[in-house]
Amino acid sequence: MAEVTLRKIVKNYGALEVVHGIDLDIAHNEFVVLVGPSGCGKSTTLRMIAGLEEVSGGEIAIGGRVVNTLPPRARNISMVFQNYALYPHMTVRENLGFSLKIAGRPPAEIEKATDEAAAILGLADYMDRTPGELSGGQRQRVAMGRAIVRHPDVFLFDEPLSNLDAKLRTQMRVEIKKLHQKVKTTIVYVTHDQVEAMTLADRIVIMKDGHIVQTGTPLEVFERPANTFVATFIGSPPMNLVDGVVAGGEVRFAGDASLPVPPAFRGRVQEGQRVTYGFRADNLMPAGHAMTGIGETADIDLTIALAEPLGAETILLSELAGVEIQGKMYNPRAVAAGERLSCLLALDHAHLFDAETGASLRT
């Protein structure tokens, strides 16, 4: 059993504090993704779990054992680095077997374990090459193989796909997910790419400026963002946000536009309260090109500024109260710039946030 527990984890470099007291419980065999913009402290947190950075305050436990002062080698973890960090002077076989060799295992056992890992990752044909002779995807696989060879308690991934091109990234994402299904192990995965986070995670941890902003399953953070930061960070295109004032069951925006208070927020807002109205492009659809079964809707007439056809759907750019917003046309037809369309907004998927703090008004 290898659950990972972080208690009030703090990291500072001199007077500069970069991680401000993080609490996180990661269950056995759970795939947790730490996601956030660069500089949010996600990599630092991962490196503290690995033992590559000292913990300035708080407590890290792996499998119930506090590891704060243990060196990396005593934590029984594996890590896949952003730039693979393969040993350039060793062959693939030597790279894979390195940890077992250091541990003083007999050669027969090392060979068996490396062959096993190579079979899982399809590396059997490259065993005698050096990393310099491999492609990016193959190197990535060797790095993963090196990590699984020793059957660690916890896998740590530090932005492992960010050096790969888009196509390979999608492919490796699938492989990582498959790998997790094959070798059931606790995984902590760091990325700045919300798509990776959504597709891979059992649970997403969204970080910003050294704090955890929200923790939840991919669908939870997508459907119930805790604040405007999560709302714009998770999901593509980012959630549309328009500031307004609550007035008589509606939210009035600058100009004369208004939208009804979404059902989930009725009774949670007061007359005259300043709010930020949020909705995703997926839920703003031209009438006749909407999805069915979307519940309560509001009508809104929009002038289209730009249309981006993606094939299966078209992204529409428009404006509401001086703010650029995006909508989505399903089963699209050609749309000209300047065309005026009457649209539907699915209110069950709309959100209200506090205009000052950005926090969701759902609770």
């Binding site: 080698r73 350039p88 250091i102």
Partner: protein, 281 residues
């Protein structure tokens, strides 16, 4: 200009430059196989008329005229001093280079600059202070005295060269090794050291050649066969009124050969080292 012409011109210029560089060395080697009579003839004899090994026989005490120069002792002294100071300089310099490449510490850039500045001091300027200091503590005319001086001279350069190499070894590799179960010490020897090897080899060669060829300081700090090195030993060929040019040249050849062999043995590393680390580092 046609391509062939250009190639020929480049060859001609290269040949000329190499000739200018090599001529003094060539003259030394030639003179080592000639008699003093022929070397000193006026007008000069450019093409040697009769080559002889007598000069070498004399040095090694094999011929009729035996020189009273203890070449064996000098060679041994040179070898002991050069090898020891090189090993010390590489060990200390490598540790320093690693620390500068990997760690943050107060006064780092100042310390690095200071090390480099020490290279700007001409060695001979140190000779008088060193002489006084060494005579106080009794290191004059000892191998140890010379070893300490050469080590000190070689450390800054070794630090500089190896720092560049260690900086090019990604930090992740050492971290990956530590996660794979290495102690920091093991991670260094199994991963970082092998990857910086060519730089360390280059640093070693430079340190060795500097020590092997150094004359100015050694001539001040050594007195007898206890510590005199080969370059200092060259001066034994000068008497009050005469200089045995032929003997001196023969001994110079003996000094050059080990350095030449060593350079050949590691030239692969040396070239890789200087283009890889030196340029970018």
């Amino acid at each position: 200009m046609s391509r062939a012409m250009k190639d020929r011109l480049i060859w001609a210029v290269t040949f000329l430059v190499m000739l200018i560089i090599c001529l003094p060395g060539l003259w030394v080697v030639l003179s080592a196989f000639r008699t003093n009579g022929e070397i000193l003839t006026k007008p000069a004899v450019w093409i040697p008329q009769n080559l002889t090994l007598d000069n070498f026989r004399a040095i090694f005490g094999l011929g009729e005229n035996v020189l009273a120069i203890p070449v064996g002792s000098y060679f041994l002294n040179s070898l002991v001093i050069s090898v020891t100071s090189t090993v010390l300089a590489v060990m200390i310099g490598m540790s320093g280079g690693y620390a500068f490449a990997r760690h943050r510490f107060p006064g780092k850039s100042g310390a690095f600059l200071w090390l480099m500045l020490s290279r700007t001091v001409p060695g001979i300027a140190l000779s008088l202070p060193l002489f006084i200091l060494w005579s106080w503590i009794g290191l004059i005319d000892t191998k140890l005295g010379v070893i300490v001086v050469y080590t000190a001279i070689n450390v800054p350069f070794t630090v500089w060269l190896t720092e560049g190499f260690f900086r090019q070894v990604p930090r992740d590799l050492s971290e990956a090794a530590q996660i794979d179960g290495c102690t920091p010490w093991q991670a260094f020897w199994k991963v970082e050291f092998p990857l910086a090897r060519s730089g360390i080899a280059s640093a070693g060669i430079f340190a060795f050649l500097t020590s092997w060829n150094e004359y100015a300081l050694a001539s001040q700090l050594t007195r007898s066969t206890d510590s005199k090195t080969l370059p200092v030993g060259l001066m034994d060929f000068t008497a009050q009124f005469t200089i045995d040019w032929a003997g001196m040249c023969a001994m110079a050849v003996i000094i050059i050969i080990p350095a030449l062999i060593l350079t050949f043995l590691v030239q692969k590393h040396l070239i890789a080292g200087l283009t890889f680390g030196g340029v970018k580092g």
